[in-house]
């Protein structure tokens, strides 16, 4: 009976498999596996030093992340033209995160384990950062994350070169309060950044006597905003705080405009609309609306003139530059400064050298805050103009010290 024999064979194989699996067991949780926390192996053998670029080149996030990749490449080319880092040319290894969080984790693993890069630059969404974070921590490697985010995070393996909440959201609220805004409507996409941002906004509002008259979330990618526009209109707030992301902004502003709401009657302050997005939404619907960032293409600094000129020379004269691109560009230079300060590519050395490193970035001079691994950044409130640019109308003046857990704000107690 071949069949009976077949099953016996099959069960033998399975039993062997189980045995193999169990015999392969390694460390239990809590045990230290040998020599303490892992340190990434970095390939420093050649006359080049490899770094990883991890951005979505396909999928829904490609629109934004491709521009970040371009800015990263620009910085790397400039540094290489200038002699490289510690005498080595930077060799960028690009990976496509494909707008898919597990793919990000997979590619991060590949860059660290297989390519043995010195650092990785990239990620955009918080979800992708959260997905790769354990990979970087496990392997003891470094990530430079260039996008404003929701704070409440401080990994020793990540440098955050975008704004945390007290450098973008809190100043925006300060500005609105200065303008006499006493009631707010919150509209956001349904994911971690808007939800966390709105918790912070609510806590701020409660402490400062601002009324939150409504709070709505739309699923990412949602394009039907008739009802939300109705609700915003009916609520009659002084201003709208907008944390929508991507395509939803297009529908939201078209509907907002159609509902007869304007920047004069009820301004919208957005924290996820930069120069690139303005083009896709249409200036017709956006003129006069507000944004909160650390950098605009129009920001007045010598470094920015060079940056914009170099970027447009490389990628096209009609290409705008934006805050995340600037933060990405800056992040490569900061890493270079840290490495040169440390005289080594090793992660531990680089981290030890990080505190106080400065760079004359397009947004002005930025300084690394060693304890949180964030940057001191200046906040700028901008107004969207009819030609699609954003002009600065207010600034926090001094660079703001990063405070990802908002520990320096009394009203923020209990948020984290």
């Amino acid at each position: 009976m071949p069949i009976a024999r077949g099953y016996r064979l099959a069960s033998c194989v399975l039993a062997l498999a189980t045995a193999a699996a169990l015999s392969g067991c390694g460390a239990r949780t809590g045990e230290e596996n040998g020599d303490g926390p892992a340190a990434a192996t970095i390939d420093t053998s050649g006359d080049t030093i490899k770094v990883g670029l991890l951005n979505s080149l396909s999928g829904t996030m490609a629109i934004s992340e491709v521009t970040v990749r371009d800015a990263l490449m620009l910085a790397i080319e400039e540094i290489n033209a200038d002699g490289g880092v510690l005498g080595k040319r930077i060799e960028p290894i690009g990976e496509d995160g494909a707008s898919d969080w597990p793919t990000f984790a997979e590619k991060a693993g590949k860059l660290i384990q297989q390519d043995q890069v010195a650092a990785v630059f990239g990620c955009w969404t918080s979800a992708s950062r959260k997905a790769v974070l354990p990979v970087f921590e496990q392997h003891g490697s470094l990530l430079f994350y260039p996008v404003q985010y929701e704070g409440l995070e401080q990994s020793p393996n990540i440098f955050y070169t975008g704004a945390t909440t007290n450098q973008q959201i809190v100043p925006a609220l300060d500005y609105l309060r200065e303008q006499g805004v006493s009631s707010l409507y919150l509209v956001g996409s349904d994911y971690v950044f808007p939800r966390t941002a709105n918790r912070i906004i609510s806590a701020y509002a409660q402490a400062h006597g601002i009324e939150i008259v409504g709070e709505d979330y739309a699923p990412l990618g949602s394009t039907e905003f008739a009802t939300i526009a109705n609700k915003v209109e009916a609520a009659g707030a002084d201003a709208v705080f907008n944390t929508l992301n991507g395509d939803s902004n297009v529908s939201f502003f078209k509907e907002y405009d159609a509902a007869g709401l304007t920047a004069d009657t009820m301004p919208v302050l957005s924290v996820s609309i930069a120069e690139e997005e303005v083009k896709g939404i249409g200036t017709q619907y956006l003129t006069g609306q507000l944004t909160s960032w650390n950098y605009y293409q129009t920001t007045d600094s010598p470094a920015n003139e060079d940056f914009v000129a170099a970027y447009q020379a490389a990628y096209g004269a009609d290409k705008p530059t934006s805050d995340p691109m600037e933060a990405a560009y800056t992040s490569v230079y900061l890493w270079k400064e840290m490495v040169e300060q440390a005289g080594s590519f090793e992660v531990a050395d680089v981290r030890a050298a990080a505190d106080g490193i400065t760079f004359d970035a397009p947004e002005g001079t930025v300084t690394v805050h060693g304890e949180t691994q964030h940057l001191y950044k200046t906040n700028r409130i901008g107004r969207i103009e009819a030609d699609g640019t954003i002009s600065e109308i207010w600034t926090s003046g001094e660079p703001i010290e990063p405070d990802p857990y908002l520990t320096g704000y009394d009203w923020a107690e209990g948020l984290s």
Binding site: P2, A27, G30, S58, A131, Y191, R199
Partner: protein, 363 residues
């Protein structure tokens, strides 16, 4: 007869050797963890081969069950990391209050979580199937409906950020039933568990394919009404296959969590659900080996080709998919039969393709 039975067995033994001896020996830790991920997709594909290839139910919503299994496992791992009475880290950050939601509580028990990995998706599939098949919703209606349900589940998860992690999903797991996931040796163990699971799933499905139930399932696929007139309730026949395939997707989702270290709504919605089907379709929807290998090959090609040529990869994948479905509905697995049919007057059934055999016979 002997040959036709020994051949698959030899194939099975060969697969076992390849998975347990060859792959761990030649692949780096990183590549092996990639393979572990592909094997999870292969498990889903085997379930799809059962439900779609044999049962004719185009399950465009397998992400729903994959997600249920994955979240059940991830919730347990999160709680285990947090320790007794602890809260998962993301709840401390984004949650409201310091309370664990009641529906998280049972997942502290490893036994409950392991059972839930299979029971949750299968129960839900049984419920959906009962409602849908009983009312004879089928074909495209069923496909669209199952897709919509997967989309709805993803939306629901995203909307409950405080208790499900929202878009971020659940990530950053330290241990797997007491074993540190950071240890490469344990990663290897996870790989072996997944490989064993795939082998077991292949065995079970092969038995189903060749049992009387498997024949009945094909009959239901080809003419549901006719089966009804023979005294069977086709709804129950389909329900069983659908439930089993959901269980496989759930198992795959659960194993995916320790292997890849994340489960998120991005693995559940419409696009991933269709991706699951693509692998099975290209490999061969009604062939076990075809579906499993197809899923692995497509995932592998995605990783390697999309790195180099993201745009070209889309064209290639879409083009291949269109060509296979339109001109080779049995998938690449049916190539073998197309080639050998002339030589051997096969007495075995041709791999069913879901299409009525239109060709007349030389009577």
């Amino acid at each position: 007869m002997t040959r036709s039975r020994l051949l698959p067995l030899a194939g099975f033994a060969l697969t076992a050797v390849a998975l347990f001896a060859v792959a761990p020996a030649v692949l780096s830790d990183f590549r092996l963890s990639l393979l572990a991920r592909y094997l999870c997709f292969a498990i889903v594909a085997v379930g799809i081969a059962l439900a779609w290839g044999r049962g004719g139910m185009l399950t465009l919503g397998q992400g729903l069950f994959f997600g249920l299994g994955g979240y059940a496992m991830a919730m347990h791992l999160k709680l285990a990391d947090a320790g007794p009475d602890g809260l998962p880290d993301f709840m401390l950050l984004y949650g409201t209050g310091g309370e664990l939601p009641w529906w998280w509580e049972p997942f502290r028990s490893p036994v409950f979580a392991l059972a839930a990995v299979l029971v949750l998706p299968m129960t839900l599939a049984a419920l959906i199937g009962f409602l849908v098949f009983r009312r004879r919703v089928r074909g495209a209606y069923f496909a669209i409906l199952s897709q919509a349900l997967a989309a709805a589940f993803a939306l629901l998860l995203i909307g409950q950020q405080a208790t499900t992690g929202g878009t971020n999903g659940l990530t950053n797991f330290q241990g797997f039933f007491g074993f540190a996931l950071a240890d490469p040796l344990n990663k290897r163990m996870v790989y072996f568990v997944i490989a064993a699971a795939l082998l077991a799933v292949l065995l079970i499905t092969r038995q189903l394919f060749h049992s009387r139930y498997g024949e009945l399932l094909v009959a239901v696929r080809d003419s549901e009404e006719r089966v009804r007139f023979l005294g069977y309730d086709p709804a129950l026949v389909k329900l069983a296959a659908y439930t089993v395939s959901a269980g496989m997707a759930g198992l795959a989702g659960a194993l995916f969590v320790p292997a890849v270290g994340i489960i998120s709504p991005a693995l559940i919605g419409i696009v991933p659900s269709i991706q699951f089907v693509i692998g099975a379709a290209i490999g061969g929807r009604a062939s076990l080996a075809g579906a499993a290998l197809g899923a692995i090959a497509v995932a592998w090609a995605q990783t390697t080709l999309s790195e180099e040529f993201p745009a070209a990869w889309t064209y290639f994948q879409a083009g291949l998919f269109i060509a296979v479905i339109a001109f080779l509905p049995g998938g690449l697995a049916s190539l073998r039969h197309h080639l050998t049919r002339r030589r051997t007057r096969a007495t075995r059934p041709r791999p069913p393709t879901g299409t009525p055999a239109a060709e007349g016979a030389p009577a």
